[in-house]
Symmetry: D2
Subunit: 376 residues, 4 copies
């Protein structure tokens, strides 16, 4: 299969260069749930970050008191960064994180709800990967490449919740994230009406140890608990708009039908999508929009943002998770096989890195946006 | 994941017993293209068959003249049957097959067209797995569990083509086969209007050596050449009806949109389907139809037919290709996750064994049906 | 790769037929640890067994009180047998198993030791898959295809332990089992001196959920805790002899060096072996011994024993775990690539089904042997 | 599994910086066999190389005349470099390569022999990945991290073969390369006597399309044609010495026994090794040698050489191919699990990237060494 020119651009390194942090002092951040799969990804992605430096690592009682290297069962292919190897792990209480300007939460949803609230109450902004507060009417599901304007609900949230300096910003579920980044420019240009999506999701989306090798080797599991509903609800909140007075989210009112599958892939969720618009749209029009697509936040300089948030490939055998998930260091979403749909309007394939842009990386972008917009 | 009661029934062995061949003499059959993946599957499935015995093995010039065991690069997990190990391979000319009452064709579509016609002209009925004649208006795409009545186009075919005793019967493409077996009872009961299908197909569907391990390991390839069109066209021909005078096929006029993917699975195509009917239908009504479903040909005794051609599972994590493809020795299609669709009417997952019911086994069932109906 | 004639024989079905149980009443058996991977395999393999029928299912407090189908997370590809689906699970106390004539133990080694002893003390013989008692000087590591005579230590064990009717028989570790079945006839014929073995072991050997898919997909893990030592110690006990007064085991005194690896295989341990004998032996002599090899217990009729316990293949690309592990329904060990070793005498590859002959199936054979020899 | 400190150092980027090419003009190189798997890897690794720039791309008649992007079926996960996409492919005749100062050969061994000789005769030095000339007594099997001094056979080769400016340098077989890089310092320090090696080799070692997914998925193939002999012969030539008059290679006289397996891994050969020395050596002594090991050519500045050519890990679960093959951008060999052997002296596990250091990257290092040593 020959490689398209677009795909080579996609992998251009994220612009490392002419970025100036809003202030010359790095903010101190903490990580809640630092030992799990997403927590490890936070640790990795925050190494050498221009805005943030890891100050405190938090986990459950089982890990508290140990050095990070002893508490964690490191599973990422890149090695555990030496800088944090000997950092002592503490409990996830706000008092332990008093030096922090913000925390990233990789907590399990069984405990995330009240813990995250306690941090916001204690004036520590929370950038969460957990699902608990996503459906709260004053908490945004924020994706800088899709709905950066939703961040401006924060004043309303503070008012409603009685937070002073704190607040909670969530990211989307991993299978929603890639989808809405690809859909946002099309929704803006043409108005999406209805949407079929069938996912083929990587095992890393299930955490660690996650999916048993005995279950998934040479197999497909046509079910992921709760995933299909998340795609319906989150897509409509994210692609909806923030009301003019910035007090509430108005649903995008897209009819969504989702089917979710687990496949034997390490990283990268692949999604087959069929889209209906309110009007007739051609394949060329869709491609033109995707091609010129730059992230809605591109005028804001976010250090982790790739050169392009969305890449379009003309190679009919792409995108493929193993070959394309790392595009833009895992921050770029790749779209391919844009073609007519016999039933709706357009069919296409969307691929995203589920643990970078779809999890820890997404929350880091959210914190970068908050910093640039003055909320941090 | 706990196992449903239905899935245990599914794997009941095919009824080996009280079957009597229409006559007590077995028919002699040949295999065209005996060295490829489908050819090997024909060889395996025809061992000890009550109606047919392998008399001649045909392949290309590269193999002709060798013993079968030396010509073939045997790739199936079950071993090469000793009974055919030393059979000499001949060229695929009708003269070489003059002792045969019928042939099964596993020929590559690059050569299948004229060779299959030459056999039909030479009074040797052809049961083909190749796509070449599928769209011929007087050649049936036959699936005994879906459209057994289509076999009755044979007299018209003979008349139109000038065949005396010969004829050509094709089976469907592997991804179509499982789908239409699951859809037939629903189409009959409720009338299908429109259909979304996203497939996750096994590597064995690509033949042997087929898909390079370097391409598919830990990966998904969101493209299979020509596959999506076949799903559209073949589904409509198979679910359509044979005209009253048995001279032509009337399309089912179902609007179909398909997206096809290759996944790292050995055997078994998984398909996520959304179905729209002409009227409102409930999940319970759909399940009731599927549950009582017996193959339309169940009053005819076909030796390879399983106890049930269609199994319904209530285990929400099933069907899975590695665990369910062998159901009914690969002849039973399994349906699961029947639920409401937010856009159409019903969503469900369909699984079938792509090289048994979806390829060689399907052609064998076709020949069994032809035998029972007196066309052989 | 063409298939050898031997490999086709290997897969002949286990003789289902003319076996008569020593008495016409089946013995009642229990399963300790019925919900784990090995426990499930016991349940599956004991369906329709001619000697034994499952009477009681035991597990930990978490499962006790539930129906089996609700307590178990069934992971085998064959479905959960309906006959046991609604059997209530009890705690692993001898009182709960008072109707049992014997128990099979699939207990975790963290708890197996004292529980198994309590059953033996309570006059219920134990056939264990756990490692706890394997190194006890009066407990045999029994493999009917390798050292059936070791069963005769039972009287001495009863005397030493104060058991009346009870006793404990263990099977070997999964990676040892296949190896010693292949080595026994060679050790008998030529006397093995020293042995290199490098294993490539299936994920099912780690239980369920066992190995995380994130760790093993597309990977090799060159370490299995404790495994290399087991290969050294167990091999010497099993290939050693029972003293003439049947009171102790005399080590075979073979120098063994083992390296153990986990690979992305579902079932079937592959082992690359180099063997040194006390004298010069040719490849042909080794093959001759393996070929005529029949299990040492072949004069005893064991219902689960395959036609041949050891198969020799001349196909240089075999044995392969996915294609050969099921040989003899998982009870036959396959040996291939027998050739000269530049350093020792002979190199070869040994393959065995690690959860059938290497785990549950091995214990069932042990109980069958005990029954036939009058210990049950 | 916790990560060792050494493994984090290993992945430090290759020193990109303070390297000065011997002259400030880059040499023009050609690639013979540019469309295959190794040819593609040459193309990728030579992008932006400080010494060499690709001037001509050669392949067989099937490809000649096409643009590279149209001739190649690009299979690497990194995209096809745009700089060569439109380069026309020519036939592998020296005349077509007259502008070249050197060529890299990724030719198939069926044709490599005479073609490579014709280039050497035409005054174009050849750095070959093919096996054809490896056993020629005046052609070195060169690995700068193992036997850099062997390059000095070139004058003798020119004399013997009648080459003027041309010569042929080969690299080792992929499974030999990693092994000898790990063994060289031990052989130098202690003198290796005998060696057992069992390999678990990645599918990329078989080229492209190479191993069929149907053969290797969930499987192990215990055979790679010719591989075991190469390990025996090449290891002895490479670890042997060049005679004082630089006219011939003296074998290392190590007794080697090898068993080679293909496993379902993408990149990275894992090798379980047992080593016997001429004297008693402790684990600590071995580790000390490996730890202080720097490549024998480390005083020569080779641009592609990693900071360390050999890394030692103390994590008992490492090295693993998926996690460690990319160490040093694929140029660093990782050794782990160094421990006592019950039979020989030391057991350990060696891992190397089979298509970087084990193939194309190895040849590039050879050309870099030739450049620095004045042979180019």
């Amino acid at each position: 299969m020959s490689s398209s020119s677009s795909s080579s651009e996609q992998q251009a390194p994220a612009p490392s260069a002419p970025l100036v942090a809003p202030s010359d002092t790095k903010l101190k951040c903490g990580i809640l749930g630092c030992t799990g799969a997403v927590g490890q990804r936070f640790v990795l992605l925050l190494q050498g970050h221009p805005f943030f430096e890891i100050a405190v690592l938090g986990a459950s009682e089982r890990s508290a008191g140990k050095k990070y290297k002893d508490a964690v069962s490191w599973m990422l292919d890149s090695p555990l960064p030496q800088a944090v190897a000997n950092v002592p792990v503490v409990l996830c209480n706000p008092e332990e994180f008093s030096v922090c300007d913000l925390v990233f939460s990789a907590l399990d949803n069984i405990v995330a709800g009240p813990i995250e609230e306690s941090f916001a109450t204690a004036n520590i902004p929370v950038f969460s990967n957990a699902k608990n507060h996503r459906l709260d009417p004053v908490v945004p599901i924020l994706i800088p490449f899709a709905n950066p304007e939703h961040i401006d609900v924060i004043p309303k949230q503070r008012e409603a919740k009685g937070y002073k300096k704190g607040f909670i910003v969530t990211n989307a579920n991993c299978s929603t994230t890639g989808l809405v980044i690809a859909l946002r420019p099309l929704h803006e240009a043409f108005g999406i009406d209805k949407l079929f999506v069938v996912t083929m999701q990587a095992v890393s989306g299930a955490g660690y140890p996650g999916v048993s090798s005995y279950d998934i080797m040479g197999n497909v599991i046509p079910y992921i608990s709760g995933e299909e509903d998340k795609l319906v609800v989150e897509t409509n909140k994210i692609l909806g708009r923030l009301s003019e007075d910035k007090s509430e989210f108005v649903s995008a009112d897209i009819r969504v039908s989702a089917q979710c599958n687990r496949v034997g892939v390490l990283e990268g969720h692949t999604e087959c999508v069929s889209i209906g618009f309110g009007k007739k749209v051609t394949v060329d029009e869709v491609k033109a929009v995707l091609r010129k697509c730059e992230s809605p936040s591109s005028d804001l300089v976010l250090p982790s943002a790739p050169k392009i948030s969305l890449a379009l490939t003309e190679d009919c055998t792409r995108p493929q998770p193993r070959r394309d998930a790392d595009c833009g260091h895992g921050y770029t979403v790749t779209v391919g096989r844009v073609r007519e749909c016999e039933l709706f309007c357009i069919k296409m394939v969307v691929l995203s890195h589920n643990t970078v842009i779809g999890a820890a990386g997404g929350s880091i972008l959210n914190a970068e946006l908050a910093r640039v917009k003055g909320y941090l």
